[in-house]
């Protein structure tokens, strides 16, 4: 008897592992170039002061990603198709414009990451950026993107070194713990902007579309919803666990010495307790992997979302002529993303953070659509949002909107 129980348990574990994937992959990919730059800046500028924010964001992230995954499982449809079918053309257009702006700025951020990481190795952006742009276009067209994805994800494992570095830098753990659970806030625009950027890089509009499509792609059955939930929660926890240590490591090293992050090399210094003189190289490889993955995902997922919403032909198995809008959007994103970086004297790190600020400001729009959909009984049946989920998601929405409003009126109030 016990043997059978054991076998069953083993089977269940194996089954769980087979479902795990979309949530973890999406969340990990969310720690992209702009994410790293934002977290590092958070730590360098404000020390441990924003850790409480990250703690709360993690809960929001888990809840919101779960909504996207649940929608994908229950309806079998992507987010943009659902938006189109239930809100009509005008509202879809609005959602897609939002997504386009947010994703385009993020794509620019990814190319900034590519330029910044390779500059550490002394490669000029005028060489690295056009070459990677061509590479991205090539991989997408060859259709081998899914395989490449795993390779880039593997490169991002390097960020585990932040965890070790965070310990070696001997932070004041009491201070860390206190700041994780006790909020502190200051009403100046740089604090608010960075705070919005931190939300914007952790919970992004693109991640919702991407995650829902991945879940649909995987074809998980409704009865296995609870396993998918664990995948999503694990992803949210894991990505913010790394974010937490990036902030701790940069706070303990850079903030303590008053270093402001202006270049990628500044951000790499936080890894010095672990890697010493190799810190820059280690950081550069990780950042490169993260940026390159983002530079693939963003054009591709945007093109899928927009064509799905408006009924244009899409898919990598179609030829360029058969799906001109689909490929056109991908190309446009790569060209603009890379093109902006090639402008002379553009501040790379700053650009990555601006991208996240825009993402953060636009996030509530997408979240409101998601909330409407996940509360619709006709779409979700018995799987509509629970009260707790609604409260957490709405608090997130309202909180970001309030931050944005403060940001808008702050210059006039002179606080």
């Amino acid at each position: 008897m016990p043997k059978i129980a054991k076998e069953q348990r083993l089977k269940r574990i194996l089954f769980m592992l087979s479902i795990i994937g979309p949530g973890l992959v999406t969340a990990t990919a969310g720690n992209d170039a702009s994410g790293i730059a934002t977290y590092a800046t958070v730590g360098a500028m404000f020390g441990y002061k924003m850790l409480w924010g990250l703690f709360l964001i993690t809960i929001s992230l888990a809840v919101i990603q779960e909504m996207a995954a649940r929608m994908g499982i229950v309806t079998g449809k992507g987010l943009s198709a659902l938006i189109r079918e239930h809100f009509g053309v005008k509202m879809t257009f609005f959602a897609m414009i939002t997504l386009l702006i947010a994703n385009l700025t993020t794509t620019i951020g990814e190319f900034a990451g590519i330029a910044a990481s390779l500059e550490i190795f002394g490669i000029s952006k005028y060489i690295s950026v056009p070459l990677t742009a061509l590479f991205v276009w090539y991989i997408i067209n060859k259709g081998s993107y899914k395989k490449t994805e795993k390779f880039f994800l593997a490169l991002m494992v390097i960020y585990i070194s932040y965890i070790i570095s965070g310990f070696l830098a001997k932070p004041d753990w009491k201070e860390v713990l206190k700041n994780t659970f006790v909020p502190s806030f200051s009403f100046n625009s740089s604090f608010i902007l960075i705070f919005i950027a931190m939300i914007g890089t952790t919970i992004t509009p693109w991640m919702q579309f991407y995650l829902q499509s991945s879940v649909v792609d995987k074809g998980v059955d409704v009865k296995n919803l609870k396993y998918q939930r664990w995948d999503v929660f694990l992803g949210a926890f894991w990505t913010d666990f790394i974010a937490f240590f990036i902030i701790v490591a940069t706070a303990a090293t850079l903030h303590k010495h008053g270093i402001v992050i202006e270049t990628a090399e500044d951000a790499a210094k936080a890894l010095q307790p672990l890697a010493g003189k190799y810190a820059s190289a280690l950081f550069a490889i990780g950042l490169f992997g993260a940026s390159l993955l983002g530079a693939h995902i963003l054009p591709l997922s945007t093109a899928y979302a927009v064509t799905e919403a408006f009924g244009f032909e899409n898919g990598l198995n179609k030829k360029l002529k058969e799906a001109p809008v689909f490929y056109g959007l991908i190309l446009l994103f790569i060209v603009i993303g890379a093109g902006v970086i090639l402008l002379p004297n553009i501040p790379l790190i700053k650009l990555m953070i601006i991208a996240q600020e825009i993402n953060g400001i636009l996030l509530p729009i997408i979240l409101i659509y998601m909330l409407k959909l996940t509360n619709d009984k006709e779409i979700m049946g018995e799987y509509v949002n629970s009260r707790t989920f609604n409260i957490i998601a709405w608090i997130t929405v309202v909180f970001i909107i309030i931050l944005t409003l403060i940001l808008l009126v702050e210059p006039f109030l002179g606080i």
Binding site: T75, G76, K77, G78, A81, R84, E85, G88, V89, K90, F93, K142, G143, S144, V216, G219, F310, G311, E378, I379, G381
Partner: protein
């Protein structure tokens, strides 16, 4: 006041509904058509007044144009009962949803719907799937046209006649057509497969389950691996097993190789023993061996059969076209000893036994040979099919050129 003969749905939805003495009665939310006719007529309207939504008889409605705007007028709002099975709500079920364009044989999204006003009523005539419809909904079509006109350009518009439209009900919607997907089942299986591949997974399984068994088996064969997997995993076991029994064993083996092991086993157990054993044998062959792609559905005759008997037997069996490229001849121990072509049969005297006209020089392959060797043999001897034998030279299967082409394409796709 100007009469109109046709209009777009988007131009009237959301408009106010007036009484004859110009009092506002409510807002038009939806139009309901009877789905039984080829040219469906609008029979009811959904009107919202305040918080009250009601379905009312459309025969009291008139639509006309005043100062460029559509005016909806009705003598009264008389509630009417409509049957869900025989009606379609245009906004709820068609607008913005995916439909199948039967002429273009693909899935498209509906941007707008064109209706015609005839003396006998209002009818749907076409759906708009083009860019113009999209822009019209955004309120951008008219201004853009004005800008483009002097340049001699226009916005492409694409209408599909309603006759060529098959609405798709998703499992969640309450659209229930009395004759579900009757148009779809007239399509060629590979066209239908292309369409099903483009749908979301739930709708895929739903559409599939409404096809009759013969059609479903043909379509299943043509689907891509992903869709096959989805369909077989979401259909009830008995139904899926019935489908598989109708398919050639080699195709079944290919499909079962791709789905979850547990489910494959379940299906094999549910299938008839004879059919499932054939499949199991094929599944045992390692990948890249001839055995893994051969079909076990072939026709063979023993050496003493006469030409007449052979032809009679063929008439009885009515084999598929690709099964009678070559007729293999075997001895009493099922060993391959010759091949006869249809030509040989036709030009010979009825009483001639097969061993007299067969060619003894048969090109064959062994079941454990590599697939690559097949390509060489087939192109070298310009064959349409190759017999497969086991170690004792017993005839156990045939590889048809189609399967090899498929195999080659698969390899190429993997490389890409």
């Amino acid at each position: 006041m100007a009469n109109v003969t046709s209009f777009y749905l988007s131009r009237v939805i959301g408009n106010k509904v007036y009484s004859e003495d110009k009092k506002v009665l409510g807002k038009l939310q939806d139009l309901i058509v009877d789905a039984k006719n080829i040219r469906p007529k609008v029979i009811a309207a959904k009107v919202k007044s305040g918080k009250n939504v009601q379905i009312v008889d459309f025969s009291f409605f008139i639509i006309y144009k005043e100062k460029g705007q559509y005016v909806i007028e009705t003598r009264n709002l008389k509630p009417i009962d409509v049957q869900k099975e025989d009606t379609i709500m245009l906004v709820k079920h068609i607008l913005d949803k995916q439909i199948v364009d039967m002429n273009g044989r693909k899935v498209v999204r509906v941007n707008d719907i064109r209706l015609a006003i005839l003396s006998t009523g209002v009818y749907i005539i076409a759906v708009d799937i083009g860019l113009e419809g999209l822009l019209r909904r955004l309120g951008l079509a008219k201004p853009l046209k004005k800008v483009l006109k002097p340049l001699g350009k226009s916005i492409p518009s694409r209408l599909i006649l309603w006759d060529d439209v098959e609405p798709l009900a998703s499992p969640h919607s309450d659209l229930k057509l009395s004759t579900t997907y009757s148009k779809l089942s007239t399509l060629h299986p590979s066209d239908l497969a292309d369409i099903i591949e483009e749908l979301d997974k739930k709708t895929q399984a739903y559409v599939f389950s409404t096809l009759d068994e013969e059609k479903a088996a043909d379509v299943l064969e043509e689907l891509d691996v992903e869709a096959q997997r989805n369909v077989l995993e979401s259909l009830p076991v008995e139904k899926a097993a019935d489908l598989l029994e109708k398919m050639p064993a080699d195709e079944v083996a290919d499909i079962l190789d791709e789905i979850k092991e547990e489910r494959a086993e379940e299906l094999l157990n549910e299938m008839e023993k004879e059919a499932s054993e054939k499949v199991k044998e094929l599944m045992d062959y390692p990948e890249n061996t001839v055995g893994s792609i051969m079909t076990t559905d072939f026709i063979a005759f023993t050496t003493h059969f006469t030409v007449e008997q052979t032809i009679q037997e063929l008439r009885r069996l009515k084999p598929d076209p690709d099964e009678i490229y070559y007729l293999y001849v075997i001895d009493n121990e099922e060993r391959l000893c010759g091949v006869v072509s249809l030509r040989d049969l036709v030009i010979s005297e009825p009483q001639t036994p097969l061993y007299e006209i067969m060619s003894r020089n048969v090109v064959y392959v062994k079941d454990m040979d590599n697939v690559n060797s097949l390509v060489e043999i087939i192109s070298k001897y310009s064959l349409l099919a190759v017999p497969v034998v086991d170690d004792d030279k017993r005839l156990i299967g045939v590889v048809i050129i189609n399967d090899i082409v498929y195999e080659l394409l698969k390899v190429r796709k993997k490389l890409v």
